[in-house]
Every structure is written in structure tokens, then in C-alpha cells.
């Protein structure tokens, strides 16, 4: 499996996307914190975090006795760069902004 396969496989699961959403809101969270928001066993959450770590989407840092989880945005950016160049980016960003604005005011 190459890096791209690992990233898409990691993202192809709603629980793992949910974990990334939690970390996007606020990262540096412990397993216990992440687990408390999911109806899932500690072991299950660990397994999902492991897949995210293997794909490079989550990075852990040790702080004392605690292991903190951080969202690593680089792999997603590299996927972005692969299909969206700097000229296309402005158009895509403008459309994404428009969509967000319309949906927020709806």
C-alpha cells in the first residue's frame, strides 16, 4: 500500500473522520478525552487512531506521562497540491467560500 492508499483508506470511515473533526476543533487531546465522546470501547478508538497515525494524519507527542494527539494537515495538503495548482486554487477557493456563505445564511 502506498501513502495515498493509506490516507484514502483512513478517511473512508466515518468514525475516523469524526476523530479528525474533533482534533480539528481542538487538538492535543488524550485517548481518554477522545474516547469519552464516542460510543466505542477504548480498544476500538485506539485501533482507529492507529490507522490515522499510520496514514500520517495524526501525530502523537508525549507530554510527561500523557500521549497527546495532533491533527497533521500535511498529507491532506499534498493531496490538494496534486490536483489543484496555484492558478486553479483561487477559483476553487472562491467557489468554496460562496458555498459556505450561502449555506450559513440559508
Amino acid at each position: 500500500m502506498d501513502d495515498g492508499d493509506r490516507i484514502f483508506k483512513a478517511l473512508a470511515d466515518p468514525t475516523r473522520r469524526h476523530l479528525l473533526d474533533r482534533l480539528f476543533e481542538r487538538d492535543g487531546r488524550t485517548l481518554t478525552e477522545l474516547e469519552s465522546e464516542l460510543e466505542m470501547t477504548r480498544f476500538g478508538v485506539m485501533k482507529h487512531l492507529r490507522v490515522l497515525e499510520d496514514a500520517g494524519l495524526v501525530v502523537t507527542l508525549r507530554q510527561g506521562r500523557e500521549k497527546l494527539h495532533y491533527l497533521n494537515p500535511v498529507p491532506i495538503r499534498l493531496i490538494h497540491d496534486r490536483w489543484i495548482d496555484k492558478y486553479t486554487e483561487h477559483r476553487v477557493a472562491a467557489l468554496a467560500d460562496l458555498k459556505n456563505e450561502l449555506e450559513e445564511s440559508a
Partner: protein
């Protein structure tokens, strides 16, 4: 752009097909940084991180080809320049097969929300994406 508050600790990690020595040179020498760090010549010595009129800091740890820790004060914006200094850690770990793992941690941003917002999202991402492209292809990410 997200309207959320940027994180006080930000972690960026990527694999680069390059030796730790080549990555170290690319981070610490102006002839390389000019090609990916928003055109800024950065010179790093055991004492100082000198990003000319864009960013400045003092060097806290200097272990060539392994680890660089320095403080960060953004000078490209007046409000950011007035915020407290934050800290940037570059860790390079060689991997089997000629790859290296680069982890950049920007922390101690708690009192510097403007700086945190600026370096999050596109900020570091553009630098690191450009660094990877430069080392792997010899060319800058964009002209």
C-alpha cells in the same frame, strides 16, 4: 479561511526523500530558504534564527542534521510583532530507504493568537510543501 481560533500548539509532519544533512542545509541556509520560505533568506547559526525583516528568533537547541529549536517573532505584521515570542522545533529522523521524517512543532502560541492564525492553514503548509518539492525535484513549488 476558517473562523476558528488557531491552535496554540501546531504539529506538521512529512516524509521527504532526502538525507537529514540535505534537509538541515535547506532549513538553515539562505540560498535554499529563498526558494520556498516566501522568498525570505533565512540564516540559522547556533545563536540566532535570522529571517531578515520577516521573522527573528534566538536558537535554543542546535544539533546539526537532527534538531533545531528556536523562538519565533513574526515581523511581517506589526500586530504579530507585538505579540509574545512563540517556539518552533524542527526534528529530523532518518528512515530506512533514503527517506527522512521531518516534524515541525510550533508551540507556545497561547498568547499570540494573531501569529497562530497566520502560521496555521496555508502558513507552514506552503513552506513545508515547498521544502519537500525543492529537495525532491530541485525546483521550487511555484515560480
Amino acid at each position: 479561511m476558517s473562523t476558528m481560533t488557531a491552535q496554540a500548539t501546531q504539529v506538521y509532519q512529512l516524509y521527504i526523500r532526502a538525507t537529514p544533512e540535505a534537509i538541515w542545509d535547506a532549513i538553515t541556509k539562505p540560498q535554499f530558504t529563498q526558494k520556498y520560505f516566501y522568498g525570505v533568506p533565512v540564516r540559522v547559526t547556533p545563536e540566532a534564527f535570522d529571517g531578515s525583516d520577516s521573522a527573528q528568533g534566538s536558537v535554543l537547541e542546535f544539533e546539526p542534521s537532527r534538531k533545531l529549536v528556536h523562538t519565533w517573532r513574526a515581523l511581517y505584521d506589526e500586530e504579530m510583532a507585538a505579540e509574545p515570542e512563540s517556539r518552533v522545533t524542527w526534528a529530523i529522523e532518518p528512515q530506512e530507504g533514503g527517506y527522512s521524517l521531518l516534524t515541525v512543532t510550533h508551540d507556545q502560541l497561547d498568547g499570540s493568537p494573531k501569529t497562530a492564525g497566520s502560521v496555521a492553514g496555508v502558513g507552514w503548509m506552503m513552506v513545508l510543501s515547498g521544502l519537500k518539492t525543492l529537495l525532491e525535484t530541485g525546483k521550487p513549488l511555484s515560480d
